[in-house]
C-alpha cells in the first residue's frame, strides 16, 4: 500500500508537469532560454546518476568488478557507435548473458 501511494503521488505530480506548458503557455509565450537549457539537461543528468548508482554501487558499497561493468562498457561503446537504443540493448543483454554463462 505504501508503494501504491508513492506511485499515485508520483503519477499526479507527473501529470501536473505534463500539462504545465500546455496550460500555462497556451502556445503564445516561449520559455526563457535559461529555463530551457536547464530542462534540456535533466534527462542526461538524471539518467547518468541512476546508471552510476545502479551499476557502480551496490547499496553504499562499490560493486565488485565483473559482468556488470564489462557488459555496460560494451553497451556504452555500441551506443556511441550505432547511436541506436535497440542495438545498445541487444548488445548489452547478449554480452551480459554470455558472461553469466561463462561463470563471471
Amino acid at each position: 500500500m505504501r508503494v501504491f501511494m508513492i506511485f499515485l503521488i508520483a503519477a499526479i505530480g507527473t501529470y501536473l508537469i505534463r500539462i504545465s506548458g500546455i496550460v500555462l503557455l497556451g502556445g503564445k509565450r516561449d520559455l526563457p532560454p535559461r529555463v530551457r537549457r536547464s530542462l534540456n539537461l535533466i534527462a542526461p543528468a538524471a539518467m547518468a546518476a541512476i546508471i552510476a548508482n545502479s551499476l557502480l554501487l551496490d547499496g553504499a558499497a562499490w560493486r565488485e568488478f565483473g559482468a556488470w561493468h564489462i557488459a555496460a562498457a560494451v553497451a556504452v561503446g555500441v551506443a556511441l557507435w550505432k547511436r541506436s537504443m535497440g542495438w545498445t540493448l541487444l548488445a548489452g543483454v547478449v554480452v551480459f548473458a554470455g558472461l553469466l554463462l561463462a561463470g563471471l
Binding site: G27, P44, A52
Partner: protein, 259 residues
C-alpha cells in the same frame, strides 16, 4: 416521438465506434510513424514489470504505475529507492526530478495543441512520452488541420503507451519465474545507457552526465539514495553553465534513437 432512423450513408456504414474513416486513417498514419520505436517501449515495460516483482512489490501496483505514471525511467527510480529503503518523499522527489523534462515537451507541444479542445489537450498530455513528443513536434506542421492533427497525434501517442502497458503486464506475469541468477537488475543501468548515451550530443549534456556520475559516487554514503538526487541536481546546475556551440533542439534526439 422518436426520430426516424437516418438512412445509412456510405460513410456511416464505414464508421467504427463512431469514429469516421478519415480519423482512423490519420490515427493509423501516426501509429506508423512511431512504430519503429515500439519494440523499445515493450522491452522497457517488460523490464519494469519483472523488476517490480524482483523488488518484492505486488504485481497490480506495477500495472497501476504503468497506467498512471507512464514514465519508465522515473518508475524504475522509484523501485530502486523502495528497494534501498528510502523514505517515500525522497522516492517521489527523485521521480519528479526525472520527469521534470516533460515540462520542456509540454512547452514545445503547447503551440501544436493550441487549436485542440481542452479535453483533447488534457487527455493527450497524459499520453506524453519522450518518443511521442518528439514525433508529434517534428511532424505537426504536416497536419495543418487541427481535427486531423489531433487524430494523428492520438495515433502517435496512444498505441505507444498501450504497448508499454502490455509490456509491463507481461513482465509482471513473467517476473516470478525469472531465476535470481539471471540478475535482472542489470536492466536498470543498461536501459538508461541505451536511452541516454545515444542522445549525448552537446557539451552541456555531456558535462551534466559526467558531473552527475562523479557526485553520485562521491556522495555514495548519503542515506536513502539521496546521492542520486544530489548527483542529478548538481549535474544540471553545473551543466547549465557550460556554453553550447550549437543551439540544442527543442526535443532531445529521441526520434532518432531507433533509426
Amino acid at each position: 416521438m422518436t426520430p426516424p432512423p437516418s438512412p445509412p450513408t456510405p460513410s456511416a456504414r464505414r464508421t467504427l465506434w463512431g469514429i469516421g474513416p478519415q480519423q482512423w486513417r490519420d490515427f493509423w498514419a501516426g501509429t506508423k510513424d512511431i512504430a519503429p520505436l515500439m519494440p523499445g517501449s515493450a522491452a522497457f515495460g517488460l523490464a519494469f514489470g519483472a523488476l517490480i516483482r524482483s523488488a518484492g512489490i505486488e504485481g497490480w501496483v506495477g500495472n497501476f504505475a504503468a497506467l498512471s505514471v507512464v514514465a519508465g525511467a522515473s518508475q524504475i527510480a522509484i523501485v530502486e529507492q523502495v528497494r534501498v529503503g528510502a523514505p517515500a518523499v525522497i522516492a517521489i522527489i527523485t521521480a519528479l526530478v526525472i520527469n521534470a523534462r516533460f515540462a520542456l515537451y509540454s512547452a514545445a507541444l503547447a503551440p501544436v495543441y493550441s487549436a485542440f479542445p481542452w479535453r483533447w489537450r488534457l487527455g493527450l498530455a497524459h499520453l506524453m512520452t519522450d518518443q511521442a513528443a518528439a514525433v508529434s513536434v517534428l511532424r505537426a506542421d504536416d497536419w495543418p488541420s487541427p481535427v486531423r492533427r489531433r487524430w494523428f497525434i492520438l495515433g502517435v501517442s496512444l498505441p505507444f503507451v498501450a504497448v508499454w502497458v502490455m509490456g509491463t503486464a507481461a513482465g509482471v506475469a513473467l517476473g516470478p519465474v525469472i531465476p535470481d541468477t539471471w540478475q535482472i537488475g542489470f536492466i536498470v543501468p543498461l536501459m538508461f545507457i541505451a536511452v541516454m548515451v545515444p542522445s549525448l550530443r552537446t557539451w552541456p549534456a555531456l558535462t551534466a552526465a559526467l558531473v552527475a556520475v562523479a557526485v553520485v559516487l562521491i556522495a555514495k554514503d548519503l542515506p536513502y539514495g539521496l546521492n542520486v538526487l544530489t548527483g542529478a541536481l548538481t549535474g544540471i546546475a553545473i551543466g547549465s553553465f557550460v556554453p553550447d556551440s550549437e543551439e540544442p533542439g527543442i526535443i532531445p534526439e529521441a526520434a532518432e534513437e531507433e533509426s
